[in-house]
Symmetry: C2
Subunit: 337 residues, 2 copies
């Protein structure tokens, strides 16, 4: 168990290091307001804190730097939630002024605002389309052998795919198919679409039209709904301003990580609510060494979850980022129906 003095010193060191990115020495600490002990005393305490694993030295005679364990302790015990400023509130709420913005646009703009406010890089996972339910299904013929299949979901999301039309299909056949699909599939979540189609609609279509050769497979293939467009970034270049990313290899690894959708997904905690902070190696990813990720989740309707996140150096301003993420995720949850 840490003494009060140790807590106080640890806090000062981390706060100072977050602000300056420079190793903190005992004299600097002694000069701080409210610090009543001498540099020598502080040196002793720092040595103890280092033995306990909360601090590190960059070399034998340098000042101290927080270790991952130190940051972890800091966010768990020393972080007083800072009240969000009215200025930040205003900026965030400007998001919702235009009431008829599509969810996707709000998300996109959120990413930009988040990175601007924090000066770090923001990542937003769009709401999980898989849980959207089919509202309407339609097919618009383009040429003799191609058409666009469109699914509108109850949240106003629109999925569309090009499909090819078998030669023997007449316009009325298409109409029949559309009717059957709307009869059977409205209200079904996208993730179950494929199954339901096979189980219920396929037979009916065959019966009415005589042929059913996977014509719709592309639009009903579940896998099509998860990849790609669901991740939004803001301020990718912000990280270049952080002194810890003045190393090209580091930057390359992070950029490459962000270009791989599958990898970036892993930094989001599954199925969890509230604010989560992962520090350095807690992210289980080599490229994330020296980086912390703070995530929050939002909810659209009752089921669709999404996440917003900030990725920055372990030395990031946790207080501020937490308050902003917390407020923003709540706003999105409240404001988007």
């Amino acid at each position: 168990m840490l003494t009060n003095r140790q807590l106080q010193i640890l806090q000062v060191i981390i706060d100072d290091f977050i602000a300056t990115a420079q190793p903190v020495g005992s004299r600097q600490i002694a000069k701080k307001d409210g610090m009543t002990f001498s540099a020598a005393t502080i040196r002793n305490e720092m040595a103890d804190l280092e033995d306990l694993g909360y601090l590190e030295k960059t070399h034998t005679s340098s000042g101290r730097v927080p270790s991952e364990k130190g940051y972890r302790f800091y966010v768990d015990h020393l972080l007083k939630p800072q009240v969000i400023t009215t200025q930040d509130i205003k900026t965030i709420q400007s998001l919702f002024q235009d009431r008829m913005m599509e969810t996707e646009q709000v998300i996109r703009k959120s990413a930009a605002i988040l990175s601007d406010l924090t000066t770090y890089t923001s990542i937003i996972l769009g709401p999980d389309v898989q849980l959207h339910k089919v509202k309407q299904f339609s097919i618009v013929p383009l040429t003799a052998d191609s058409a666009v299949a469109i699914i509108v979901t109850d949240n106003g999301h629109v999925e569309n795919r090009l499909i090819s039309i078998p030669k023997n299909f007449s316009p009325s056949d298409i109409e029949k198919v559309v009717n059957i699909l709307n009869d059977r599939l409205v209200g079904v979540p996208l993730e179950q679409l494929h199954n339901k189609l096979e189980q219920e609609a396929a037979a009916v279509i065959k019966q009415h039209i005589g042929t059913y050769d996977g014509l719709l497979s592309s639009i009903f293939d579940i896998n099509n709904y998860q990849g790609e467009g669901k991740i939004y970034y803001g301020g990718k270049t912000n990280m270049l301003n952080q002194p810890e990313f003045h190393d090209l290899n580091k930057v390359r690894m992070l950029m490459e990580l962000m270009e791989k959708t599958s990898q970036i997904q892993t930094i989001f905690p599954l199925d969890e609510q509230g604010i989560h902070i992962r520090i350095g190696s807690e992210n289980n990813h080599l490229a994330m060494e020296g980086c912390s990720v703070i995530t929050a989740s939002y909810l659209i309707g009752t089921e669709q979850k999404g996440s917003i996140a900030i990725i920055g150096p372990t030395r990031m301003d946790y207080k501020r980022v937490v308050s902003i993420l917390d407020f923003m995720s709540n706003e999105i949850t409240k404001r988007i129906r």
Copy 2:
């Protein structure tokens, strides 16, 4: 006018510098196959080429490096179009194996392939949606006061927007509006949609329903069709591998340039066909110092133009990039209907 020997030496220097990124000395050149002159002779010629502005020195006693003028001369006069390899052809044609891919997906994949093949960064300007013509218009009600408006174009592109429904609108009113719009607006290019709506449809709607308060303005606002999603990138991190981008400031400027849609547009030549090469300052952009851009345009249908581009160091492998861009733009033009 340059002598044959000068041409030969200039070519060797540029080829060598493109391959190694190191200043080229007279002895190196003399050792090359087919070089029948002594180092001293070559030194004299190099001094002349420098006086003429085709070469530069990084310092008084270094080897020579091509100047922008040198590269310009190289691409204009020394660049023999290299035949594209069958391997590259195969890779590019793999794009079109899945016949029913949406245009957007093809474009996205093209960007990835381009950057892989060239090891530079690729930029693709999607086809100009503005010229697509309306194929079908529909409105899908979601709640009492909101709906999704959908426009499908003749090329299978789908635009959709959330709209709000005025309180006094009944479902049959909506149906009427949809019918009127389909009557009047099918075949109209997106860019003229706003005008046509005001001129023809608005009055009719008012007459039939009594109210028309800008309900559709959001989907008909032309500006909504140009921004954002139209630019695709591939291999953004590739440039980090080039020795000329080992400078963080350079990288930052380029990345920021690419994040600003409006700025990146300016590197594409307007309205021009065929391959275009812009070297360094010819791009009229500070961030593009030391960078060359090679662009090619493709055509979908008879009217919709788009561009594909590679951005790399001025020291890029022009031969190879030109051949790849040329082939790919032609393939896209041929294969996408």
